[in-house]
């Protein structure tokens, strides 16, 4: 049962293990009634419908340019003519390659930074008592739902013009400072509400006795956080890290607004390629597939964590 990726959070209490054999026999009996032939066929159809588009792109990416512009991808079933030429062209294209590097350079720091900051805030919300805690926490949650688009104009002008109060300079602005500065900061900010909320759910579940014991032994909040809370929440941190990495890697909006031309990540470069009907359009499938490869690899390698992270945020509401 625990082999499936998605039933992890459910058995956290551990009660399932004791009566596992009992349950299994019951499950088997009910199962026979629940799954019918119609259901099987329906699920196969859904699975097929959901996979065909991706499969089509994959096939297209392997077809020579002359064929792509002439026939549909399904004609490979009668005319088997595949090549990796498109991939070679994409990987030799400086623009696309630079965009891939940009994506990596944006995504890694934009994952680590909000994660650490959010973990600290989550710890404070969970284990330090202060007045107005509940109010602030709900406030942070509500921020999660503010549309990012709503913050773009002011944040952009804050970055480019800085902040002056009564003529005094408080912030000089980050106009053209560094390659990725604005994108890193923007992504970090936008990740915080969800990250704090998710990590808080995990951090509160650490047994009170563990924290108290450390406190009795003379550990302060710094040590408790670093030596106890962080190690115990590694699964949650990992799950959010994957979530955030995928989100940053796949983002277009923030990149469009905050990244300068030379910092343009792969999503933006591909989107620009889609717009123009130039001679490079045939490279889109291969380019898109390479861009997909990294999130898919991350996703397949770590999907246990990824799914758990999703569930922590949603099934508890």
């Amino acid at each position: 049962m625990s082999a499936t990726p998605v039933d992890l959070p459910v058995t956290r209490s551990g009660k399932g293990a004791i009566e596992a054999t009992d349950v299994r026999s019951v499950v088997k009996r009910t199962k026979r009634r629940l799954t019918s032939r119609g259901a099987t066929i329906a699920s196969l159809i859904i699975a097929l419908l959901w996979t065909i588009p991706t499969f089509g792109l994959f096939v297209t990416s392997l077809r020579p340019q002359s064929e792509v512009v002439r026939t549909g991808w399904w004609s490979v079933f009668v005319n088997w003519d595949l090549t990796i030429e498109n991939y070679q062209t994409v990987l030799a294209n400086d623009n696309l390659l630079a965009s891939l590097v940009n994506s990596v350079s944006i995504a890694l720091p934009a994952t680590v930074i909000p994660l650490v900051i959010a973990a600290m805030a989550a710890y404070a919300f969970a284990w330090i008592d202060f007045t107005g805690k509940d109010f602030l926490f709900v406030g942070v949650f509500a921020l999660q739902i503010v549309p990012i688009q709503m913050t773009l104009v002011p944040l952009l002008s804050l970055f480019s013009r800085g902040l002056y109060i009564n003529g005094y300079e408080v912030f000089e602005g980050f106009k053209d400072a560094g390659t990725y500065t604005q994108v890193w900061i923007a992504h970090s900010i936008f990740a915080l509400p969800l990250a704090i909320f998710l990590l808080h759910n995990f951090v509160t579940e650490i047994p009170r006795e563990v924290i108290e014991a450390a406190r009795v032994d003379g550990a302060g909040h710094g040590q408790i956080f670093f030596r106890i809370v962080v190690p115990l929440t590694v699964p949650a941190i990992a799950s959010f890290a994957i979530f955030q990495f995928l989100w940053v890697w796949n983002d277009l909006l923030v990149a469009l607004i905050f990244a300068s031309g030379k910092a343009s990540p792969i999503t933006r470069t591909l989107a620009e390629l889609t717009g123009e009907f130039g001679q490079n359009a045939y490279l889109l499938p291969a380019g898109a597939f390479i861009a997909m490869l990294i999130p898919l690899l991350v996703f397949f390698a770590l999907q246990r964590f990824f799914v758990r992270g999703l569930l922590a945020g949603s099934t508890k509401g």
Partner: protein, 388 residues
């Protein structure tokens, strides 16, 4: 001065910037944690340390945010830094007299300040600012208050009404269909052989970017005037002998076709969450219902469905929010076709046309649409926290 630091980092090769920025950040965090650890300790040395940190850190941060003090342009940064130092000293005094023990307040601030400073600068301040912009004209150099003009403009333009209609369509159709499809799939494959594999197939689109998804769906909806078709939909039409259709040119069908793409992405999310929730429904209840002689459909309707109600609501709200904010799909697939725009896309378009007033008015409209969901969820959280 932070700007100079970032400029230096920016001068490094792209991949080398990763370790530098991450290390610099982690060192700063390590210092904060070290301070938090030793802050509450008794003794004169630690008191001096607390005072020093409370005064110096805000001053340094403000000094760093400004330009070089020896190059005052145009405000004078040290004045701001001195105000920061004074506020820091006040915080130290407050902390010194705190009932919960010395160092308590400083610890709290150290843990929460990074997050809250970023949230205030990046979400709260911009949100307030946007609401103000919404009532200003489009002259960003010298904005004038224009009252509700921008909103009047939105509702007076026929193409904007189409935009609003489309947004409503997205929010109504996407969550309902993704949730139904995801729930059906989760129920059908529940405890079947190869369940994990089936799940991955439908969940995979979640890991693909919207840009990637748009490119994928080009090869579904694609249309070519003459010769063989490259979109599979027209391929099918061809196969049964019909004449190919330029799908994305058909109003209002094209909006629904774009919605299908988001459904394709979100169904996996709904399926995974609901599947876990279904497994959480007590088997005893299902068995009891079975003994009572109910059929599979009745069991699903009367036992499973009430059991997964909380997750169902969460899934619906999450997907609603995602559909309200949908931007990438419309931007990459729809811009070449008529009447496909949504509010989120219109905002960015207006922004790029240097019309911040109108763009902000759309933003406020979007926020008003999201507001009921915010209130509902905030209530839910409060409830669960009270239970705890």
């Amino acid at each position: 001065m932070f700007k100079d630091l970032f400029e230096w980092i920016g001068s490094l090769p792209p991949l080398a910037q990763i370790p530098v920025i991450i290390l610099a950040f982690l060192v700063a965090i390590a210092l904060v944690l070290f301070f938090v650890e030793v802050a509450p300790r008794p003794g004169r040395g630690y008191t001096v340390l607390r005072l020093a940190v409370a005064v110096v850190v805000p001053a340094l941060l403000l000094l760093g945010l400004g330009s070089e003090p020896w190059n005052p342009n145009p405000g004078w940064t040290p004045v701001v830094a001195i105000i920061g130092a004074v506020l820091g000293a006040a915080m130290f005094l407050l902390d010194y007299r705190a009932r919960s023990g010395r160092g308590y307040l400083l610890q709290l601030v150290a843990f929460l300040a990074p997050a809250f400073l970023l949230l205030i600068a990046g979400l709260i301040y911009p949100t307030i600012q946007t609401i103000i912009y919404a009532f200003m004209n489009n002259n960003s150099a010298n904005p004038q208050f224009v009252g509700f003009d921008n909103f009047a403009w939105i509702f007076s333009q026929p193409q904007n009404l189409v935009v609003i209609r489309n947004t409503v369509l997205w929010v109504v159709v996407t969550p309902v269909i993704s949730t139904i499809a995801g729930l059906a799939y989760a129920v059908f494959i529940d405890r079947s052989r190869g369940e994990k594999f089936f799940k991955i197939l439908v969940f995979m689109p979640m890991a693909i970017s919207f840009v990637g998804a748009s490119i994928i769906w080009r090869f579904v909806y694609g249309y070519r005037g003459e010769g063989d078709q490259f979109g599979i939909l027209n391929g099918l039409v061809d196969f049964v002998g019909g004449s190919p259709v330029n799908w994305l040119q058909q109003v209002p069908l094209n909006t629904f076709l774009l919605i299908v793409v988001l459904i394709w992405v979100q169904t996996g999310f709904a399926m995974v969450v609901l599947s876990a929730s279904i497994k959480n429904v007590p088997t005893e209840q299902l068995e009891a219902a079975e003994i009572d002689g109910t059929n599979a459909w009745q069991r699903f309707w009367n036992v499973t469905l009430p059991g997964i109600r909380p997750s169902l609501i969460v899934v619906l709200t999450t997907i609603s929010i995602a559909s309200l904010k949908v931007f990438d799909i419309v931007r990459t697939m729809g811009t070449a076709y008529p009447d496909t725009s949504v509010i989120a896309n219109e905002m960015v378009t207006l922004l790029q046309k240097f019309e911040p007033g109108r763009s902000s008015a759309f933003a406020v409209l979007l926020f008003l649409l999201v507001l009921p969901i915010v209130i509902y969820n905030a209530r839910q959280i409060k409830k669960t926290r009270e239970v705890r």
